[in-house]
Amino acid sequence: MSEYILLRHRDIPDLDRLKVYLKNGGFEAWKKVVTSMEPAELIQLAKDSGLRGRGGAGFPTGMKWSFVPNNLWPHYVVANADESEPGTFKDREIMESNPFQFLEGLMIASYAVQAQNSYAYLRGEFWQIGLKLNQKIAELEKAGFLGDNLFDTKYSLRLHVHMGAGAYICGEETALLESIEGKLGQPRLRPPFPAVAGLYASPTVINNVETLTNLPPIVQNGATWFREHGTEKSPGVKVFSLSGCVNKPGNYELPLGTPFRKLIYELGGGIPEGRAIKAIMAAGASSALISATEAALDTPMDYESVANLGASLGSASVIVLDESVSMSWLAQKTTHFFKHESCGKCTPCREGTYWMAHILDRIEDGGASAKDVDLLFTVARQMQNKCLCALGEFSTQPVVSSLEKFRSDFLARVDGQTR
């Protein structure tokens, strides 16, 4: 038995071996859905559980599945395993150490929309994980959990791993679909949404790795059990990736609604060398900065409460920033990331990230004036609500929020002042 729901490998050695996974209840949920549940029943169960997408948007999973029309076929399910947000490393641990629970979740989601071919899209850097998943899928085919006429029913399913090749934008779901189709990973215009016209213009569900990994225990234990964890609007547990200025960085599985303070100080061991905390990024590099006030530290980490702080929980990638960190430096780092990862399709993002990076370099090099700080703010604000996908918007979040909350960090660099 394990106290964990997702990171069960931490209590159960060798959970990545099929024999061990089966001994611990593995694929019982899978057998149950295929042999005894109607797809509609399964969709209702996901809705009742209140499970929300763990990739960042927090969209209700059951509702996402229900958008898939039953008069257009075939259907596809794609697992988004392109985990590339700076500060995020949870899906990697799940796939490395508890791969069968993830695959079982992908299989359950496939059954819910009656997909017969589903894909796991892994970022290219997860090469070793890709090799491992391919082995696991072969084992499942051999064991009769994947293939034709499963458990002597009419349902057949095959899983395929598709490796990316280094592009953050492919975590954006429509860019991801383009990438599987063998094209440049650039986002599509919406509508149509993937639920109607996704992979190969067919109805497609795209779910994050952690979202899928929640499904086997939900099927086994029911919606009421799931709702015993977390909050009313954000039920369940979440894997929080903790990094930055903290003594014990790593993944922590906690109920949604756990306060920041508990994660950072109790579990994360606090700030190195007893320095004071300055700010928190709750959603990786694309976060709006949260000033680390006492009230903020006591805020429950769930979708609604973090939104009330003017930020977003996103994929729960909590980066801690202490008093030694200059927010001007931080904005330069995040902006260079987004400039590099901008796919170049839409002008506000392509040009905006370029110019923000240019101005931030000038500020950090000590060659800027106070006017440049204002200019940076203007450029970032001009980009907002104008980009084709979320990447452009993400790039502005750390810039605008750091200028609003820590402007003095920028002004300390202008007019020839150096560090």
Partner: protein, 173 residues
């Protein structure tokens, strides 16, 4: 004659089987990974072969190579030593690690070592923020993470690769 198809008939058949037969273009990325494994970069001939297999133009294959950072269209170091210096890694000393690693090797970022074996590169987030400084080694058709690194442990990793390459060279002779 399609050289790639002649070299990897089984692998290519398995790749194509993953996608619907009318969407062969989907195979372009796995084929590029396959083709890159041996020479360490995508040759013009491989682009031509892949274009043929997928039923697209060589220009389209080239644009994919250009878009994704893990494909290389030039031979530049057998092993790409890719250090993440993104913000969370930088907060754990990744910038300093990269600078010192380059100094000890006597190279600049993006410049191959004298023996042509290594090129040190600065890359974006690799989902290992809690174990920085870290880097990945991309080469010989493989990609391996090295985490919790110091400059000394990194140089030991490079030494081991150097020996592996030397043994492989002897094997060829």
């Amino acid at each position: 004659m399609n050289e790639l198809l002649a070299k990897y008939p089984t692998e290519i058949k398995a790749i194509l089987a993953k996608y619907p037969p009318e969407f062969k273009r989907s195979a372009v990325m796995p084929l590029l990974h396959l083709a890159q494994g041996d020479p360490g970069y995508i040759t013009p001939q491989a682009m031509q072969d892949i274009a043929e297999i997928c039923g697209i133009s060589i220009t389209e294959v080239g644009s994919i190579v250009g878009f994704y950072t893990l494909y290389y269209d030039k031979p530049l170091g057998r092993y790409h030593i890719q250090v993440c210096t993104d913000m969370p890694c930088a907060l754990r000393g990744a910038d300093k690690f990269l600078k010192e690693l380059c100094e000890r090797l006597g190279v600049k970022v993006g410049e191959p070592t004298a023996d042509g074996l290594f090129v040190i590169e600065e890359v974006m987030c690799l989902a290992a923020c809690h174990r920085a400084p870290m880097f990945q080694v991309h080469g010989d058709g493989d990609l391996v993470y090295h985490e919790h690194q110091t400059v000394d442990t990194a140089l030991a990793v490079l030494d081991a690769l150097r020996q592996k390459a030397a043994v492989a060279e002897e094997g060829k002779e």
